[in-house]
Each structure stands twice: as C-alpha cells, then as structure tokens.
C-alpha cells in the first residue's frame, strides 16, 4: 500500500501499542533552559535517570543576552545555571554560551548534522517543526513530555492526520521561503493545520536551499500543524555531508541508500490538501496579531466589515485596535521604529546574506533601531568572515551575539509599548516582542528594506 513520507517514518518508530496510543521512539531530544528545569526536577524526585544521554543535546538560547558582558537578570542567570547543573548531573551534552557551538536550538541541530532524514526529533519548543526540512518527523512538546522522553526515550502519541501543501509555479525575483510560508498560512489559517503533519512539496520547494526549507517547516506550527516535512534530496545530502554528527565513510553511503527511499509513494493518500501558486506571489507582510493576518506589500490594511464570519470580524477589529492601524492604510505607508533580523525562522547564513544585499551601500533610516542577531555562534563567525558584519554595522545596524533574542523578548531585547517592528521572526501575537509592542512579520530582505526606508517597502524596488 502507498504510504506518505510521514507514515514511513512513523511506522519505523512505533515501539508498542500503549493502551491505544502508539509508543513512539525518539531519535533526538533537543533541550534548552526554559522548558527543561521542571523536567529534570521530576526525574530527580522519582529517582529516574536520563535513558539515552547519547541522543540528548542541550543548548542555551531563549534568555541569553545578545550583548557582551555578564548576564544581569538574576532569574535568567539561575535558569542557565540550572541547565548547567542538570546536564552535568545527568550526563547530557551541553553547548554552553561561549563554547563556539551555542545558538538557537533549531539552528544548531542542523548545523551539527544531528538533524537527519528519517529521524524522530522532539524538543520542548513549538518550533521544533523546523527540523522537518530534512525529512525528519520533528515536533514540539511540553515540559511533562520532556521529562517523559528523558526518562523513557519514547512518547505515547495519537497518530496525526496528514496534509499536503503543494506549491506550484516559479518563485519570482526577490521572493523568499518566508513569503511562501506566510502565503500558505494565510491560505490555511492559523488553526487549519491542527492535528496534522504537513508535507510541503512541488518544484518551488525542491528549488529551495536547506535554509529556505527550514524557514518553511519552522512556521508549520503557525498554521496549527504538529509538524512540517520536506522529502530529502541531493540538496539535503549536500548540506549534511561532513557535518560533525553526520555519518562518515561507508556509513554515509549506507545512509544515502536509506534516505533516498524517504519520499511519499505515488498515489499515497493525505487527509487534506492545499495548493499554493507562487507565480504571482508578492512580498508578504503581516498586519494583525496572528501569522494568518497577512497580505502583500502592495496591499492595504483590511476592513473588518469585509469579513462575513462574526468571529473573524471581531478578531480583525481587535487586532487593528492593538496594532493601531486604520482600515485601508497602504502597508507602504506604515512607519516602523525597530527592525529585528534573527530567530529560528530567519537567522541562518543565507538569511543574513539576503538582508545584507539590500542593506549594502544604504543607511538605516533616521529614528529606526535595527539589530541583527545571528542564529548561532557558527553563523555569526561565518557572517563575519564573509564581511556581512561590516555591511550591517556601517549601515547602522547593531550586530549581536546568537540567541532567540527579540523573537520572544525573554532577554533584554524587547519592544517598548507602542513600538512597531519589522521582524523576521515567526509570531506577531500581542506583546510577543514586549508588552504593547507591535510586530509585523516579513522576510529578511523585506526587514532590510524596511530598515533603510523607515517604513515597509517593496524590496523588489530597492534591488
């Protein structure tokens, strides 16, 4: 019988039937400081060990400062100290701040070659869906589940449904994976993917680099989906070859044989299907308080009266009030205060290159505060080698150290009340980047265009 890529990975990881649930084996468990302390406490209280420290990797990302100097927030410091203590006590490998390998958990997994096709991957973070770009089944879990995986290396799971998102056409000049996924979420809605694992397919996806594919899978959760998947191919294998945790020598050849079978069979059935044509896609900008509230850069802020559904109308009214936007306002007339280029969505080397191309030879507009936060220490070092730091700094951007930073503002990088931000991150929820802050999600190139223009601008006209 024809199976989808998801079903192949799922079937290979079912350990047992556990009271009607599939007990699913976890091949890689990524851990960070925010969602793990209570899980380690739980292990200690029950006298349990970490079952597979060899399959567990920890890093510090959510609340680390991105400026130089010691951490000043005592709560953040205690939380980082707790992770160090826990990793030490339970024998878990930690990529500590300053190790040169630290970074956002969803950036360092692929970078280290830990994220591999066909694996099951979990992390106490909803953006774990990112790793699906390699054809791995990767999903976010809560702290109780973190504890469960630490103790048993398994999770009892109900089998999710499947959705195929088929991209067609040719991605126009100046458009990116971020625009593709924002358009897809606009179409699916923020709850359309609930209970589903989404497989992204089609020529525009195959044409993407791994960085682009990671951006797409990253935002699966913003459509409500459990996970996102892209079948591995030569682009995937070329990215992986030679990375520290990737197979080497004859093991590499064997792995390639296995990985080449990891694609959905012709005729495999999905529970839902969505088509997204990218031929006429334009750069996307969100105007509201969830990622589905999105339109093209040449569009206007919508009028609540145009929405038939009463729930939706109320949500739009509420969002516009929070965002302080009037219906009918052209997005290119919306001025910004801050620019954030970073996050597990868009802080990889290719993202920084795309932003730097727009910034080069230009200046950050007066009154705009713009920061670049590389996704990892490695990305930062590579960008510096390529001269990108200089491009950003001479344009007036601040160049920071790696971390989650202003994506969720757990560290000192936050919006003040009323500030408006062009952000390459993944969530424009109320207060996400700081209480009262207003977030507009865009691609790195569009964030750069906004930075130099002082308002949202069509990057295609700046190129």
């Amino acid at each position: 019988m024809s199976r989808t890529l998801f079903e192949k990975i799922w079937d290979e990881h079912v350990v047992a039937d556990a009271d009607g649930r599939a007990l699913l084996y976890v091949d890689l468990h990524l851990v960070h400081e925010v969602t793990s302390p209570q899980a380690f406490d739980g292990l200690r209280a029950a006298g349990r060990a970490v079952r597979r420290p060899d399959l567990t990797v920890a890093t510090m990302d959510h609340n680390v400062p991105t400026t130089d100097g010691p951490i000043t927030d005592p709560l953040a410091r205690d939380q980082l100290a707790a992770l160090r203590r826990n990793c030490d006590e339970f024998g878990v490998r930690l990529f500590d701040t300053g190790s040169g390998r630290e970074g956002i958990v969803h950036v360092i997994g692929p970078e280290l070659g830990l994220t591999q096709p066909g694996l099951t991957i979990v992390c106490g973070d909803s953006h774990t869906s990112t790793h699906g770009a390699f054809g791995a089944l990767a999903f976010g879990v809560g702290t109780s589940e973190v504890e469960h995986v630490l103790a048993t290396q398994t999770l009892p799971q109900a089998k999710p449904r499947t959705m195929r998102v088929e991209f067609s056409g040719e991605l126009p000049f100046g458009l990116t994976a971020k625009d593709m996924v924002l358009a897809a979420i606009g179409q699916i809605g923020v709850s359309g993917g609930v209970g589903h694992v989404v497989e992204y397919a089609g020529p525009p996806v195959e044409a993407l680099s791994m960085e682009g594919r990671l951006t797409i899978c990253n935002m699966s959760i913003e459509a409500g989906a459990r996970a996102g998947l892209i079948a591995p191919d030569d682009t995937t294998f070329a990215y992986l070859e030679g990375r520290p945790a990737a197979p080497h020598g004859t093991a590499w050849e064997k792995a390639l044989d296995r990985w080449r079978d990891l694609r959905s069979d012709p005729g495999a059935a999905y529970d839902a299907a969505v088509d997204v044509d990218v031929d006429r896609l334009k750069p996307q900008v969100t105007w509201g308080t969830n990622p589905g509230m999105v339109t093209s850069i040449d569009g206007v802020v919508p009028d609540p009266a145009d929405f038939d559904d009463a729930d939706q109308r109320a949500a739009v009214e509420r969002a516009l009030r929070y965002m302080d936007l009037a219906p009918g306002t052209p997005l290119v007339d919306v001025r910004i205060d801050k620019v954030f280029i970073g996050s597990c969505t868009n802080a990889r080397i290719e993202d920084l290159r795309a932003a730097a191309r727009v910034v080069e030879g230009r200046r950050v507009a007066d009154g705009v505060h713009a920061i670049v936060v590389p996704g990892s220490a490695r990305v930062k070092a590579q960008a510096e080698d390529e001269g990108l730091r200089e491009v950003f700094e001479s344009a007036g951007f601040e160049w920071r150290r790696a971390g989650c930073s202003m994506c969720l503002g757990m560290n000192p990088d936050v919006l003040r009340p009323g500030e408006r931000c062009a952000s390459t991150s993944n969530r424009n929820f109320e207060g996400r980047q700081g209480a009262g802050g207003r977030t507009h999600l865009v691609s790195p190139a569009m964030a750069a265009a906004a930075a130099v223009s002082g308002r949202f601008a069509d990057v295609r006209e700046l190129a």
């Binding site: 091949d27 567990t56 959510h62 103790a151 109900a158 207060g431």
Partner: protein, 196 residues
C-alpha cells in the same frame, strides 16, 4: 497528578478565537524554574484591563473556562496549563485547541473539552442565566442544571489519564521490555556526548 473524574462549578467565558499561550502566560514568567505559582500571572497583560472577561464578577471563583476556537495555540510552554490550573481552572471548553496545549493540559489535570461552537453558544446563554456546570469526565458529558446536556469525545487514553490521575511515565515504563527490544534493533545514528 490528582484524579479528575468530574469538574463541577462556576464558569468564566472568554469568547475570542486563537488565544495563544503568549497571552495565557507571557514570556517574562518563563524564567522561573518551579512548576507552581503561575496562577497570579494568568493572562497577565489582559488582566490589566478592568473590562477583561475574567475580571467580571460572574467569573469569580470559576473552575470551568468556555473559550473560542484554537485555544492555546502557539508556544509549547506548559506554563500556560500550569497557570490555568493554579488559577483554579480544571476544564476548558472550546471548539478546538492548539495540539501541544491540549496535551500539556491533560498532563496537568486540566480537561480540554472540545464541543461544537453552536453547543458552546447555548451553554454560554445557559450559564449567563444560572452560573453552574458539570463536566463529567467519566460519562463524557457536559450538563447544566436547567437540563441542557452535551456529550463530548475524549480518547480512552486521555480519559484514563485524567479520571485516574495517572503518571504517564510509570504507564510507559510498563513497556520497558518493548523499548529495550526496539533499541536493540534500532541503532543510534550518533553519540551526542562525543561531538567535537
């Protein structure tokens, strides 16, 4: 976790869609390393508004929350479920839930009850008149004292977890031999401890 065969009590209504976990518990409270004490920060920013639904007199002392579709979307933070539980909620009724929130809620002993929007609309009217409700996790039924009743679905695994207050890890460890056997046939692809 405490057994939760039924929830009986007052109801608070938060009638808006796509309430994300950033609203339920904002990020500044995720730096704590404890599992308890999050209730006072529930809906921290929204609570500042005197007109916020949960500050209305009729919402006082509620143990059941009626919410909109896709409740608990977004971040995986279990702190959201901890905050609801610590505040006093034992059940949330909504047309749908964010997947991770839903599973976190069950682990924490807050029953996520999915009911069609039309049923919830009738329940909202009923509790506006008389603020009492029973959520029966054994019979899988929501009942209002004036006679309104709706059946809901919960898969047997989740039902058992809630009703009996089971420890999920102990439950999984009953399959320890199967895990051992699986691992012997499923080689590790790397050793994270040996990474340079």
């Amino acid at each position: 976790m405490k057994a939760l065969p039924r929830v009986e009590g007052r109801v608070a209504v938060l009638d808006r869609a796509d309430v994300d976990t950033d609203q339920i518990i904002p990020k500044q409270f995720l730096k704590r390393i404890e599992r308890t004490g999050y209730g006072e920060f529930l809906f921290f920013d929204w609570m500042k508004d005197p007109a916020f639904e949960l500050r209305r007199p009729e919402a006082a002392g509620a143990s059941i929350l009626i919410a909109g579709r896709n409740f608990g979307c977004g971040s995986s933070r279990e702190h959201a479920a901890w905050a609801l539980e610590d505040y006093g909620f034992r059940a949330v009724l909504a047309p749908s839930f964010g997947d991770i929130f839903r599973s976190n809620a069950i682990k924490v002993g807050v029953a996520p009850v999915a009911l069609p929007a039309a049923d919830l609309a009738r329940l909202r009217i009923a509790v506006a008149d008389r603020n009492e409700l029973v959520v029966d996790l054994e019979s899988l039924e929501v009942r209002h004292p004036d006679g309104l009743a709706f059946a809901f679905e919960l898969d047997p695994y989740d039902q058992e977890t809630l009703v009996q207050g089971l420890d999920d890890i102990a439950r999984t460890l009953r399959h320890a031999e199967a895990i051992d056997a699986f691992e012997s046939q499923h080689p590790a692809r790397f050793d994270a401890r040996a990474l340079a």
